[in-house]
């Protein structure tokens, strides 16, 4: 898989995690029960945190490797 493809794949997974987390939070906000508070903080918070951390990871590592690969290609061409 190309670096761009890997970056897009990571963005997709990250986005999916964030969407799931946001939907869990929306449902919990509508459901006024003590267990909703735990699901909101536990499951919703975990999914959003996982999505955000995966996005940050992709920015630092996957995008960094992509730039290195582009620079290497330019050197070879030059």
């Amino acid at each position: 898989m190309s670096h761009t493809g890997r970056m897009h794949g990571t963005l997709r997974v990250s986005g999916a995690l964030v969407i799931l987390g946001l939907l869990v939070e929306a449902v919990c906000l509508l459901w006024s029960r003590p267990i909703a508070f735990v699901i909101f903080a536990g499951l919703g918070g975990f999914l959003i945190a996982a999505g955000v951390l995966l996005f940050l990871y992709s920015l630092v590592f996957v995008a960094g490797r992509e730039e290195e690969a582009v620079a290497a290609d330019k050197n070879e061409a030059g």
């Binding site: 990250s14 969407i19 906000l29 509508l30 918070g45």
Partner: protein, 209 residues
């Protein structure tokens, strides 16, 4: 921030995230990168913070505490038509905010009181879902009730400082203030919820004299 506004923001954020999931190629453009940062970093964290704040406020409400079936008799005890019932007298006369009655008295007024109250709530959920619940009348406090929680409001009040019974013995007030003589378990204000005797008492209905 109202709950409806947070839900709208959450749905809007989820919609933008869905655009990114379906078309990740938009991040090739600088504006797409800004969108990705906003949608996958800023907006989710903002929604999480706003939602958490909303949930924390809601968890302080009397209706939230009484939404558990086991707490129903305690909610009923707030409506006992007898001023000797401490919790009822406080609730009905608005000595505590009626919409945060449980939280006001059962929160530790120390630095991490709210946090400790939430941890205690998690323990209640654990017992509710994974253990055998005690009968409502068998529920005990985790630790003896600290006078600090009463003094948070009553300290300095004329009725407390100059009350005839409080001053009948010069040692009483200092002992109460030092938490050496309990307000609620020393034979003084010891009828608090008394949920075991609720079938024998008259209940007050709001709006009726």
């Amino acid at each position: 921030m109202p709950t409806s506004a947070i839900i709208v923001l959450i749905l809007f954020s989820a919609l933008l995230a869905a655009v990114l999931v379906l078309r990740p190629t938009i991040t090739a453009h600088p504006s797409g990168k800004v969108l990705a940062f906003g949608v996958l970093f800023f907006l989710p964290l903002f929604c999480l913070t706003a939602g958490m704040n909303n949930e924390m406020e809601r968890s302080k409400s009397t209706s939230f505490c009484l939404s558990c079936h086991i707490m129903e008799p305690y909610g009923k005890s707030l409506r006992v038509d007898d001023p000797s019932y401490l919790a009822a007298a406080h609730f009905q006369n608005h000595r505590v905010p009626a919409d945060q009655a449980c939280y006001t008295c059962h929160t530790n007024y120390a630095m991490f009181g709210t946090f400790k109250a939430k941890l205690g709530g998690l323990r209640h959920l654990y017992v509710h879902y994974l253990k055998t619940e005690p009968h409502p009348q068998d529920i005990q406090l985790h630790e003896p009730y600290n006078n600090r929680e009463c003094l948070h409001c009553h300290l300095g009040a004329r009725s407390f400082e100059q009350g005839a019974v409080h001053n009948a013995d010069p040692d009483t007030l200092p002992a109460v203030k030092a938490n050496k003589l309990s307000c609620i378990s020393s034979g003084c204000h010891d009828v608090v919820h008394n949920v075991g005797a609720l079938d024998k008492v008259k209940l007050w209905t709001e709006g009726k004299p």
